[in-house]
């Protein structure tokens, strides 16, 4: 009796392990964080493009929508999303804040000159430490802000669906 139970248990054990690992194969191995979180906007003090000091509290007003977009001239996907940002700029109900990430000032300027400037304010994060406060991963990344809360975040370039989604929220 004993000799029959043991191999059965062993087979069952390995079968369960096989199923667990086999299922694990299909899991995405790229971590994606929750994107629908209500987090307070982190405060920062950064230089703007016009070389003024900008404090976050003075930018974000309670009754308006803001899209804070992390971008850099060296970032290829940023070029792709730029047309959607330009489209969003036409909407009066939202303000766009550019967050220039680890960029060369000259290159950033010519990037905006070539493709247009959708931003109302641009702040410069020279060493990328401020973006960590936002819980950002890199470029491009965007945060939709209302009443000093991040209500939605977009990791990676904004596409047409995202644009429509934003326009629906701020309607």
């Amino acid at each position: 009796m004993k000799s029959k139970v043991f191999p059965l248990v062993l087979i069952l054990f390995f079968f369960i392990i096989f199923v667990i690992f086999f299922k694990g194969l299909k899991n995405s191995n790229i971590y994606t964080p929750k994107t629908n979180l209500e987090i307070k906007v982190p405060s920062f003090e950064l230089k703007s493009f016009e070389n003024n000091n900008i404090i976050s509290e003075t930018i974000f007003k309670d009754d308006e929508y803001y899209l804070m977009n992390i971008w850099a001239s060296w970032c290829i996907p940023c070029r792709e999303e730029h047309e959607f940002l330009m489209e969003l700029k036409k909407n009066q109900k939202i303000k766009l804040i550019g967050f220039n990430y680890k960029d060369n000032f000259k290159n950033a300027k010519s990037f905006l000159k070539d493709l247009g400037n959708p931003y109302d304010i641009i702040v410069i994060d020279e060493d990328g430490t401020s973006s960590i406060d936002w819980g950002a991963y890199g470029v491009p990344e965007s945060f939709l802000i209302y009443q000093n809360n991040i209500i939605k975040r977009f990791i990676g370039p904004i596409n047409n669906d995202d644009l429509l989604g934003i326009q629906k929220i701020i309607k």
């Binding site: 790229i30 964080p33 990328g128 936002w134 470029v139």
Partner: protein, 121 residues
């Protein structure tokens, strides 16, 4: 007198140096315990991605501000979630993970005890 001065200055310099070395050591230790979120299978310490470089800088600044290791971990946990820490926390999702080795150890010990010691008697 001059000798004393030189001695004091050099000793201060050396002590500063060792403080700095301690900071770098904790800095590296923290970075090794953090998962580089945009890389695959690399710690922040190992990675040279823009994200990891910035994060290392943040850790350095936080240490200089006098934050403890625990405080830095909890700060990053708030910002990026628990996934950034290599060591999973002890909570209801990880009871099984943490307790299984202990359980196996106890059960294994019991089996050995039964097989060898009781049988001998």
């Amino acid at each position: 007198m001059k000798f004393v001065h030189i001695f004091i200055i050099t000793s201060i310099l050396f002590s500063l140096n060792s403080l700095k070395a301690d900071d770098v050591k904790t800095e590296n230790e923290i970075a090794k315990n953090l998962r580089c979120l945009i890389c695959q299978g690399q710690s922040v310490y190992d990675s040279d991605s823009e994200f990891a470089i910035s994060l290392k800088l943040v850790i350095k600044n936080k240490i200089q501000q006098g934050m403890s290791e625990e405080q830095i971990y909890s700060f990053l946990k708030i910002k990026y979630g628990e996934w950034i820490l290599y060591e999973p926390e002890f909570n209801k999702n990880t009871y099984f993970l943490w307790l299984l080795p202990i359980l196996m150890f106890i059960v294994g010990g019991a089996i050995i005890f039964k097989l060898f010691i009781i049988r001998k008697n």
